[in-house]
């Protein structure tokens, strides 16, 4: 297979300074996503995962390091990218339908086509009949699905997803994971996926990075060599457990080291 680098983060360091205080958040983190590859990042809370994703989206400028997209240096440059922030950021003044339509309106798609695409996707995300609801009238899980739907409508072949399934119940979560794998299989978009869940990382990914506690550093990298398409039952196969053990250990080691 001809592997091409879609996204490459090289030696990213970042600090936040609030007033006098300087908080190092990322320390020399490097990672890459090949074209069509599904890559997850696992790490303890507060290790700088969301910060890393914002840097990858070009919304923050790293203190040190480079971001390459399709081989071009894009450090600190905002651009069209399927970025889904951790807080859903659905606009409270827009209905679900209007929220989801934003990327299409921004891309200047004509009204009829926009409407048709939304109509087609609402049931896919389990939001049928809720198109006219405002975010405040929806459950946390529905909002998250709505935000994911909005993200998927951004016409970019790179998706940056920040814990998109965190607020969902196990069943919905599984359905959406499967759904994500299915469309990912169709379109082969490249995905950088942040998660807290080891199972989710293994089930979805081609490769998983583990980063340490703050300041986040590269700790571990694991290729997940489970053939696709993956059914739900892979989660109870020996290879799956094997990866799970490795990742659990990597996370535990680095969390323990960090607290020392």
């Amino acid at each position: 297979m001809n592997k091409q680098l879609k996204l490459k983060l090289e030696g990213i360091s970042a600090t936040y300074s609030t007033g006098e205080k300087i908080l190092p958040v990322l320390d020399n983190v490097s990672l890459s996503v090949d074209t069509g590859e599904f890559v997850s990042v696992l790490g303890p809370s507060g290790s700088g995962k969301s910060t890393l994703l914002k840097i990858a989206a070009g919304l923050l400028k790293p203190e040190r390091g480079k971001i390459l997209v399709d081989g071009r240096n894009m450090t600190g440059l905002s651009r069209l990218v399927g970025y889904m922030p951790q807080q859903d950021l659905l606009f409270p003044w827009k209905t679900m339908r209007q929220n989801a339509a934003l990327p299409l309106i921004s891309a200047k798609l004509d009204k009829k086509e926009t409407k048709a695409r939304i109509e087609e996707l609402l049931p896919v995300f389990g939001l049928q009949g809720f198109g006219e609801y405002y975010p405040d009238q929806l459950s946390g899980g529905m909002r998250q699905r709505g935000a994911l739907m909005r993200t998927m409508l951004i016409e970019s072949d790179l998706l940056l997803l920040d814990e998109p399934f965190a607020a969902l119940d196990a069943l919905t979560r599984q359905n959406l994971q499967e759904w994500l794998l299915k469309i990912w299989g169709h379109f082969r978009r490249s995905v950088l996926f942040i998660t807290h869940s080891i199972d989710e990382a293994i089930y979805l990914s081609d490769r998983v990075y583990v980063i340490t506690e703050r300041p986040g550093k590269n700790a571990f990298e694991q290729i997940i060599d489970i053939p696709r398409p993956r059914s739900k039952s892979v989660t109870i196969t020996p290879p799956f457990s094997h990866y799970k053990k490795l990742l659990l250990e990597a996370l535990a080691d680095n969390t323990a080291a960090g607290t020392k």
């Binding site: 399927g82 807080q87 827009k94 309106i105 921004s106 891309a107 405002y134 009238q137």
Partner: protein, 259 residues
Amino acid sequence: MKKWLNIKNNLAAPLFMVFLIAAWELITTTMAVPEYILPSPSVIAIALNENFSLLVEHSRITIVAVLGGAILAMTLALVLALAMDRWRILKQAFYPILVVSQSVPIFALAPLLLIWFGAGLLPKVLIVALVCFFPLAVNLVEGFSQVDPETIDLMHTMQADRWLIMRSVQLPSAMPYFFTGLKIAATYSVMGAIIGEWLAARAGLGIYMLRAMHSFRTSHLFAAIIVVVFLSLALFKLVEAIRWLAMPWQRKTTENLKE
């Protein structure tokens, strides 16, 4: 039970009003207070009834000034607040002046406007615009500065242009602030118009009041006051109605869950 209490609460104010009016009527008639000092409610009611078409005529003129001034103020405030949000230097230069300008009493400026623009509709409109402008501008500036930068970031990842960001993020998120300002402006605006008419005008509620005052027809003055209060209330309700229409996401949808 709750409902009954609510009804009782809702009735408390009107009942007290009725009581006050009755007491007023009683005192003015039994103590024979001269009518030019304090007319009784019944005399005021008669004055209101007899002069109704004249009052409506003058109100129309005042309303035109109020609406004209309010629309002018809204337009200016919106443009200025957007510009201040867009260019920081403009905000730094202009915002303090805006705040200080508020301590200039409108009475001090009104004669100037009259000298410049004569006694017609224009100076009245300008006075109304002046009193409405400040609460609108300050609230809009505040509203725009409260926009969540992360939502703007998100729009950037969709490569949204400035116009789309403005209409889908900045304007709607500043809307509650705008309506807060507009409610304040609505209460000021009628006052502004009447002050303008007191100083110089040919017609309007302010002129009607002046004439009533000069001829010691106090009951007519009271009738005009009632009309002014009614106008202010109606304007306030109008703002609330517009708010209701403009912000559908803020309508209460959970009401039938309560009780």
